[in-house]
């Protein structure tokens, strides 16, 4: 049944990339437990607007857990305390009356804050640009059924491809490493016959780009896997490592 709760919010406010930010405290009153977390922020923003203050900037779009646009660290947990859930799908019934909720942006050198809770994640796109694709031009494809793909491989590839590129793995990693993200893309293509011709080049270029962008290094802390809203497994990271060693030591790719 619907009930309402009151909350103390501490929200990170930062005017711009190179400005100093700080946590500001807001009271959220009569919050319906059926609201999503983002709807709760909407309510706060409407209040701030009416008071003549600037609302909290935060990224969001589809609000059904698939676009990967939303995300904030809620009480130390990216996308909040529920497993396998994006922030937009987190509902207020998971909080109790008078809880204090600290809301911070993704923190990583490679994700500079744009404003408040919104960060610049273009580094993720840059890694895809480096090799997260299969180089075929439109029109050149053979019949879709020409190459059978074992069902198991297709399923594993789909598990990896489910990544929504939200960046929670980076936010959760104690080292701010995007290895889960990179490994999901490398794995998807490494598992499919279509991805094989470029496998070595892809692994090397994507890892090199990852290193260039100022992310941290993976130290197998497994926080990414635990926080990933799509529950992508670190077996993909092991696969990326294998692909990388194969590429680095056994292929002619430099």
């Amino acid at each position: 049944m619907t009930k309402t709760i009151n909350l103390n919010l501490k929200v990170w406010r930062q005017k711009g990339q190179n400005k100093k930010g700080r946590l500001e405290t807001y009271k959220a009153v009569d919050i319906s437990t059926d609201m999503s977390f983002l709807e709760m922020i909407d309510v706060i923003n409407e209040q701030l607007t009416h008071k003549g203050k600037e609302p909290v900037a935060f990224d969001h779009d589809c609000r059904e857990g698939i676009c990967g646009m939303c995300g904030a660290v809620v009480n130390g947990r990216p996308h909040g305390p529920e497993m396998g859930t994006t922030l937009c799908q987190l509902h207020m019934r998971h909080f109790s009356d008078n809880d204090t909720i600290v809301i911070e942006p993704w923190r990583s050198r490679a994700f500079p804050v744009i404003k408040d809770l919104a960060v610049d994640r273009s580094a993720l796109d840059k890694m895809i640009q480096a090799g997260g694709f299969i180089s075929i031009n439109t029109g050149g494809a053979q019949d879709a059924n020409a190459i059978p793909v074992p069902q198991e491989a297709a399923e594993l590839a789909m598990d990896a491809a489910a990544c929504i590129g939200c960046g929670a793995c980076v936010a959760a990693c104690p080292n701010a490493s995007p290895m889960l993200f990179v490994s999901a893309k490398v794995s998807q293509f490494a598992l499919l016959p279509q991805g094989k011709p470029e496998a070595a080049k892809r692994a090397i270029s994507m890892v090199r780009e990852m290193d260039r962008l100022g992310f941290g290094n993976c130290t197998n802390e497994r926080e990414c896997e635990a926080e990933c809203p799509k529950e992508i497994s670190i077996t993909n990271i092991a696969r990326l490592n294998r692909e990388y060693f194969k590429a680095g030591f056994l292929s002619a790719e430099k």
């Binding site: 946590l23 660290v73 009480n75 130390g76 947990r77 497993m83 600290v102 911070e104 923190r107 990583s108 050198r109 490679a110 959760a172 104690p174 080292n175 701010a176 490493s177 290895m179 890892v207 090199r208 990852m210 290193d211 100022g214 992310f215 941290g216 290094n217 993976c218 130290t219 197998n220 802390e221 497994r222 926080e223 990414c224 896997e225 635990a226 926080e227 670190i234 077996t235 990271i237 092991a238 696969r239 990326l240 490592n241 294998r242 990388y244 060693f245 680095g248 030591f249 430099k254």
Partner: protein, 213 residues
Amino acid sequence: MNWLASTLLSSIGKKLMMAITGLCFCGFLAGHLAGNLTIYLGKDAFNSYAEHLHSLGPIITLVELGLLFSALVHILTGATLFYQNLKARPVRYSVNKSAGGRTLGSRTMPYTGFILLVFIVLHLINFHFIDKTDTTIYQIVHSAFANYVYVVIYVFAMIVAAIHISHGLWSAFQTLGANHVKYMPFIRGLSYVFSIIIVLGFGFLPIYLAYIA
């Protein structure tokens, strides 16, 4: 950059070096422990084991150099990783909470690593770079552990080593790409079992020498 250097100095390459040198240390520890267990057979057995070891001559020197090289690689790479990872998040979270991925071992790797480095230096001063002309190794060890401060330090160090290994061992397999749904639970179990063997095997020796032998 040369292909080998660029492969090894990438983030995954650095992890590879950590994994391989770490596995070398695990292998060394297993051998070291097997040798040390001869203490339980009495001082003659222990001394003859030590003599036998020394009689291997150049092989030992080679192994020592190998270990030294591994240590340098492990320490330098580890320090680089620590520094880079610290820099990767210039502004820290005001609230930190684990989702259950991290363990005591993984959380403390750089710190346990540092403690182990200090301990290893001490250990080498105690037992390796010591004048052994008029005395046997058993006497050295026995007299060292007559001081309970040493006992405490050694037991503590072994606990730290176990914590380090509890993450390091399975992590090395993961880094090498050996993560398979069928075998990973076994590897993770092995890491804990190996850590316990290390802490009990090495850790009980000082206590045995100080209070029982």
